[in-house]
Assembly symmetry: C2
DNA sequence: CGAGAATACGAGCAATTACTCGTATTGACA
DNA sequence: TGTCAATACGAGTAATTGCTCGTATTCTCG
């Protein structure tokens, strides 16, 4: 997974801490500026270091985004993997549709709210080719899991139909996530989440066995 | 609406033609590069003129986008206003839900396919502040019309509920449009449109009186 | 025809930005 | 303690890009 460190550094205490700080700063700057408009100098400044120092740890702006994506992926797996885990699939199969949606959507929404920089890398339509690959893992992990759930809940679907439906579901989620994250108040946010779930339910109900 | 022309030009035959050519070029470049990555020099080159000539007609890149948006708005009104027109509302009220969706979605899809540059200005999440205003008219026109239809079909909704539902519907459409437009084959495209309609139907059915 | 405005050109400017490089400091380890 | 790599700095560079400016050409109109 990490084949880019041909020569491991020695001073890892300071270094690792710096890298983490840089990623924190990058997440914040990406969240508020978007990927393209975020400048590497701004990220360095937000991390309290010089541009040169940033490039001591990351080869390029894209490498920062890549590392941040990796970190998000790991965080998501650690925090919310349960709901999606293969072991949980059987339990998910027996659930009420509304409960199923809650079980899947709520953790994802919580994660997106806790990590506002996430959607800047996840829900971006104008990714540079390299970054599409970077965000790909998250995207395809989510897709694969949704497909797995569909396979259990809607055995009548052919494989291509299942793939298409999963794509549509993920797309709906991605489209509505920015609105949810940007909600001004808590009530507003809950209302947006309710709408998101309505959309998902409306699409899923006819498919659901 | 057009308060920016304090001093009308004289040679309008050549000039107007050039402006139209520039907008054609801009639509093409925006379509394939996106707004940010599209350079004014590239637009000028695509129009077969020099950068200086472009700026004889448009004060800035943003002004080009603004003018293009205006042209799209007018085209959309001319071509597909009927389906949305106030006069047609009564007819729409009596329709089957599937027919209603066809009536509204099909022209919009056709327009987006015929004008691939449209979505670059319409479905962009990272608009500069000025451009949000530029794209606003299209967005809010569409929103207003969807709201009008909802008012007729779902009289039980409160005004805020109606506004929110309209926003959700437009958002779904925007999110799925790029996939529809980019479809590789005709069958693929039809399948995507079917999914789009399924999503809309699933969300609307419970609301529909 | 002659004048003035509209159109056209394209080299180049000013600002931005991802990234580098020469150098200085810090700290682990012999 | 001395050494050397890791860390840190920040002015500077090359490339990009929106846009300008001086100038040349074309057209309208009297």
């Amino acid at each position: 997974m990490e084949s880019e460190e041909a020569r491991p550094r020695r001073r890892q205490a300071r270094g690792e801490r710096r890298m983490s700080e840089i990623l924190d700063a990058a997440a914040a700057v990406f969240a508020e500026q978007g990927y393209e408009k975020a400048t590497t100098n701004a990220i360095a400044a937000a991390a309290g270091i010089s541009p040169g120092s940033l490039y001591q740890f990351f080869r390029s702006k894209e490498a920062v985004a890549q590392a941040l994506t990796d970190r998000f992926t790991a965080q998501m797996r650690d925090a919310h993997g349960e709901a999606f885990a293969p072991a949980g699939l059987a339990a998910l199969a027996a659930l009420d549709l509304d409960d199923l949606i809650d079980r899947v959507v709520d953790p994802l929404v919580a994660f997106n709210i806790a990590n506002p920089g996430f959607k800047a890398l996840f829900a971006r339509p104008d990714m540079p080719p390299g970054l599409a690959t970077a965000a790909g893992p998250i995207q395809s992990a989510l897709l694969g899991r949704v497909e797995a759930i569909l396979a259990v809940r809607s055995p009548g679907l052919s494989a291509p139909e299942r793939a298409r439906s999963a794509r549509v579901l993920v797309q709906i989620f991605q489209a509505m996530t920015p609105v949810v994250v940007a909600a001004a108040s808590e009530e507003e946010r809950e209302a947006e989440v309710r709408e998101l779930k309505k959309v998902l339910r409306g699409y899923l109900a006819p498919l659901d066995g």
